[in-house]
Amino acid sequence: MAAIGLKRRMAALDKRALTADLERMSAFVENTPLSGESAETITADVLIVGGGLVGSTLGCVLASAGIETVVVDREDPASVMEASFDGRASAIAAGSRHMMESVGLWAEVAAAQPIRDIRVTDGKVGRKASALSLHYDHREIGEPFGHIVENRELRKAQHRFIPKLETLRLLAPMGVSLVARRPDGVEAKLDDGRRVRAQLVCACDGRNSRLREDAGIKTTRWEYWQAGIVATVEHEKPHRGTAWEHFLPSGPFAMLPMVDAADGTHRSSIVWTERKDLSEWAVKLPDHAFGQELERRFGDRLGRLRPVGPRFRYPLSGLNASRYIDRRLALVGDAAHAIHPIAGQGLNMGLRDVAALAECIVDARRLGMDVGARGPLERYQRWRRVDNLALVAATDSLDRLFSTDIAPIRLARDLGLAAVDRLDPLKRVFMRHAMGTFGDLPRLIRGKPL
């Protein structure tokens, strides 16, 4: 009883905290000024176009190192924190968390569920999972693989953190009407008539990046035959911090553990990849029928599954930009590369871009260099393109390997999984990859200060 009472009190506190956040923010975020104030020119080192999770994190990381940074976002900060804007949860890999800890952003994240185990199984709809499975235990590594955090919790954390940074200025909701990239600097025109002058502009404006298009950077795109359905489910039994990745013929079905709701209800976030036509049907099912479809796929490990809140459907497609840089321009996150969300690596790839680009910028700035010059940008591109291409290829082949129903392949795959499970060094490499702590790592990802 006492525990429930405490949880209720915490829920009330959480609500109050959110209201306070919004009030603080409306005081901080600069609203569109009246016409007549339009002559102002804002000067900064770096301009970030797009204030989503990746763009805002880049702003926080740069500003925490003293870099004068302006983030322009067209969305209203108050609306992006509502569940209807983005009801998704993200897996924050250990490396991404190290970076957020290092700059002080992680301390602002109110609710994060550590992933203590990852269980990978495969099977068919309506049948038990194969007996052979891959089991990753965080005790073999010494820290959780990552954390599951609701996207709006991440946004709230960023908005609590941003006002603490003296050298960061967030302009939202605000559009950018023109970005002129000249040999000696960048000048952007904002919708309210003001101008921003900077040495470098970072395109964090997503998969359909306008800055990328304007720079004439070509992309390679590919389509998958599946769509991803994302929803939150309540379940009877506790998940004990286990993330499940269950490979079905239509693709992976993931159950990602979330922090219990304020009233103690156990929750997980599901990512269900399904044929496009079936996914369209499934996402519209009434709650009860949708829950039954989930149970047919996931089984009864967590008891009854009850979907709550909005459901989202995303056709799966991949994209990679032919270049990540142009004159005084760096593409970051989805603007540079977007992958199949199979391993939950999309945001983490974007955050690794952030860590690498921040390191290139800060290293150049500490030498008094022009941060938008060719040197730091080329270093960023060399660093990230190799890493991203490897992950794009690995995620793609992993999906193709698992999305098959041909018996010999299934058997070989089961044996392969079991073999990996027994080969400790190999498994540790896989685990480190999933955690984002493998390869040529930026200082922040290794948990070191910038």
Partner: protein, 250 residues
């Protein structure tokens, strides 16, 4: 030329001045004629930053570690050294005898939003005034002056008591003849042939001997070596070719 206008004796060789003036507009192309300086810049700026913060205080990992320091860049060229040091917070004065170069440097700094006091003046002329600096930097310049004694004496007078004089140049050794002259100008074509005259290269002992009469003590002599693997430069103990000498005024 300007040095006449400013009066005072000069150490500048007119032929040397013209050579760099022709390069002025191309100073800032990292792949252009100044590529070797651009490549060397990170190493020498990191050295200067660490050396200056160690002597005068300041957080070397901050974005403005040189705040409050008055520095003189003697032989500033297009501003390859002055601009980064100004971004790091230093109050910069840059001197170059070529009016075209000073014009190019001024225009570039303005577009970068940097306030740098560029002057078309000789070090000797400035030394006649009561100007004084926390540190005088003569980086990659003494090998181009005709009167080394007059030049270094003027630099020495411009350093405030307790301040530093930093000289970076090329040693006069058989190795430097092979690498800096034959290698860089003729084989690798890093520099236009004729950029350097090996006979004007200066040994660290000669720099020290010129500064000693003004009371300076040499604190450090460090080599700057090309690393063929990375294509960059790094500090080393080998001073046979490029080196940086730091001396302190009592």
């Amino acid at each position: 030329m300007s040095q006449q206008a400013n009066g005072g004796s000069v150490s500048v060789d007119p032929q040397e001045v013209g050579k760099f003036a022709r390069m002025a507009e191309r100073w800032w192309d990292p792949e252009g004629e100044m590529k070797p300086l651009h490549a060397m810049n990170p190493t020498r700026i990191a050295f200067l930053r660490d050396c200056l913060t160690a002597r005068f205080g300041g957080d070397a990992t901050g974005v403005r570690p040189l705040s409050g320091l008055r520095l003189l860049d003697a032989g500033c060229g297009g501003g390859l050294l002055s601009e980064p040091l100004a971004r790091l917070g230093a109050e910069m004065t840059g001197l170059d005898p070529s009016p075209e170069t000073i014009k190019a440097a001024k225009a570039h700094a303005e577009r970068q939003g940097l306030a740098i006091d560029y002057r078309c003046q000789s070090v000797e002329a400035l030394a006649e005034t009561d100007a004084s600096f926390d540190a005088v930097l003569a980086m990659e310049v003494v090998e181009h002056v005709s009167d080394l004694t007059g030049f270094l004496d003027a630099c020495a007078r411009l350093v405030r008591p307790g301040g530093l004089c930093v000289v970076a140049t090329i040693n006069r050794t058989p190795k430097s003849f092979l690498l800096a002259k034959v290698g860089a100008e003729y084989l690798l074509r890093w520099l236009p042939p004729g950029t350097h005259d090996w006979r004007r290269f200066v040994r660290p002992s000669e720099v020290a001997a010129e500064l000693r009469p003004s009371g300076f003590t040499v604190k450090e002599v460090v080599g700057v070596s090309f690393d063929p693997k990375s294509g960059g430069w790094r500090l080393s103990s080998n001073t046979a070719v490029n080196y940086i000498l730091v001396a302190e005024k009592p």
